[in-house]
């Protein structure tokens, strides 16, 4: 029913930092999200791209050092394609 208290606390701390970064990065805002898809505001692509590049280096280093493992979602073609589509429709409000 529950993870261990230290793990819960770790999740909370990670979440607070994630929330601050998302808010400072402005990706919680309607006009930024819609602006991206109208190709007027590239904040979302810049932020996600940087996160992926920086994150990738560390995550693969940790995996190589046996300190973490990859957690890859299954390639369920129908689910991923339909899911991506459904998530995108009316993604803006």
């Amino acid at each position: 029913m529950f993870d261990s208290p230290p793990k819960l606390l770790l999740g909370l701390v990670t979440g607070i930092l994630f929330g601050v970064l998302l808010q400072k990065g402005r990706v919680s805002k309607f006009e930024v999200i819609v602006g991206q898809f109208l190709f007027k505001d590239w904040t979302v692509v810049r932020m996600m791209g940087t996160a992926v590049v920086v994150g990738s280096v560390g995550v693969f280093a940790l995996v190589a050092a046996d300190l973490a493992s990859l957690h890859i979602r299954p390639m369920l073609l129908g689910g991923v394609l339909l899911g991506a589509e459904v998530q995108s429709i009316l993604a803006d409000p």
């Binding site: 793990k7 929330g19 998302l22 400072k24 990065g25 819609v34 109208l38 073609l77 429709i89």
Partner: protein, 182 residues
């Protein structure tokens, strides 16, 4: 130097690098990728079980998750979601970036100034997004950031399709004229 927390925004490259570093932290300390929507699935499953205990026998979701070794529970990710609310609240309070319009200008231009209309649309769109995220087993965080950085095929397909369809949707709704109203 100005306190970064009182600034309304950071460069997207700084915020993005921060999320990248935070991913190292999540993998190193909890061996978990940052994701959000699984916590909503677990909440729904736990609520159903609390309301109707026999659902655990009648719905094979529970047996399947048990077999996967991932029974729904209040876990690291669940607390992460609570943290995101708190972190965003702290960040916006410290910078005074709190005045979010219920009806943003672009929406008003397209759909008028009814708050009820926008809130209703946002509610159903949110439910649709959650449905899609669970079909794909990931959202913009779980697939879009955490999955792509692990170079997962499923995540790259997800984010490309999601961005593509979102672009078509937004252009269908707001069109060329909308660009002038963002």
């Amino acid at each position: 130097m100005k306190n970064p927390l009182t600034m309304k925004s950071w460069s997207p490259y700084i915020a993005g690098a921060g999320i990248g570093l935070l991913s190292w932290f999540a993998f190193a300390t909890a061996d978990r990728p940052i994701g959000v929507t699984t916590a909503f699935e677990y909440s729904a499953a736990l609520s159903a079980k609390a309301a109707v205990p026999q659902v655990e026998q009648t719905n094979d979701y529970f047996a399947k998750k048990e077999a996967e070794g991932k029974p729904p529970k209040i876990d690291w990710e669940w607390m992460l979601v609570i943290g995101v609310f708190l972190g965003a609240m702290i960040s916006s309070s410290l910078s005074g970036d709190r005045g979010v319009a219920t009806v943003p200008p672009l929406w008003r231009w397209r759909f008028g100034d009814s708050a009820a209309k926008r809130l209703t649309a946002a509610f159903f769109a949110g439910a649709l997004m959650m449905f899609g995220a669970r079909l794909a087993q990931g959202c913009t965080s779980g697939h879009g950031i955490s999955g792509t950085m692990q170079l997962a095929v499923s995540s790259w397909i997800f984010i490309i399709v999601a961005f593509g369809i979102a672009t078509l949707t937004v252009w269908a709704i707001y069109g060329k004229e909308g660009v002038g109203h963002v």
